[in-house]
Amino acid sequence: MEVLYQNKLLTIALTIAFALLAGNFGSSVYMLNAPPVVVRADLSDFKAAYGVSPAAFQSWFTIHLNTGVGFYQTIRHEYQHYIQSALLTPFGAAIGYQWQHFVLGKDYYDNWFEIDARRVAHDGLNFKVFVWNTKELKLIMPGQYYYDLGVNE
């Protein structure tokens, strides 16, 4: 065992792998118990899953909103992806999502993760998000338009 322990290459590789796994499970602990961090930014040059330029996307414990986007349904859709990542861990959800895409050949609308997120877009759930740009906790409710969410006055 000490031969493996003193092998620099193996130690570095294991350190990276274990650090990523620690971060993955640590993120889930946060995500299961705390709100997502919403970041408002210009996403016009950004490409998300399936190569689309998104109005919004979820990544790890953040939800990114493009400029001018503010429908409840959009934020609720991304919040559902946040819930999926919290329960399955970020790696688990990402692997599941890409499995649907590349292995099962499902297109965007047939991907189970997207079906699940579309299903709840109008379910009326109230939830909190932490808005990174304005550093405030905000309650998201149906029937509201959040175009100014994260926009500094």
């Binding site: 065992m1 000490e2 322990y5 971060g23 299961l32 559902q80 819930i83 999926q84 861990t89 699940d116």
Partner: protein, 140 residues
């Protein structure tokens, strides 16, 4: 999914499980790159000379010789590579299958290395300093 996420009977066990797994990998990251943290205890009535739960080695003062520390250091390396949960999973599995203590693969390896003369460093938490462990030297 949202039904599970809002159910505390799901969220609390998952939080504990993920926290334990996360700490398990974090302990390995530390153990792969840093010296063990040694805690000396004075428990003469205890049958255990020492126990390693990475990144800690808890050792009885009476057993703080090179051989004992080297034995525990081997367990420290085993846990660094396999992660503490991986180590204890295999250890418990072998034990539950009826393997006697001395024949457990991790113990066998640690016993064979006790006198191999390897020099290594530990961090003594009580003295709050690094100590180099050499054969034939009692730890201070």
């Amino acid at each position: 999914m949202e039904n599970l996420y809002t159910n505390p009977w799901v969220v609390i066990p998952l939080t504990i499980l993920y926290a334990v797994i996360g700490l398990n990998f974090a302990a390995s990251v530390y153990s792969l790159n840093a010296d063990p943290i040694v805690i000396e205890i004075d428990r003469p009535e205890s049958p255990l000379g020492g126990i390693t739960i990475a990144p800690f080695i808890i050792i009885d003062k009476a057993c703080c010789s090179y051989e004992y520390l080297r034995h525990e250091y081997q367990h420290y390396m085993q846990q660094a590579i396999l992660t503490p949960l991986g180590f204890f999973g295999i250890y418990a599995g072998e034990f539950l299958l009826g393997t006697p203590y001395e024949e457990l693969s991790f113990e066998k390896e640690a016993f064979t290395k006790m006198n191999d003369g390897l020099e290594f460093e530990i961090f003594d938490i009580q003295k709050f300093k690094k100590i180099r462990i050499k054969p034939e030297e009692e730890s201070e």
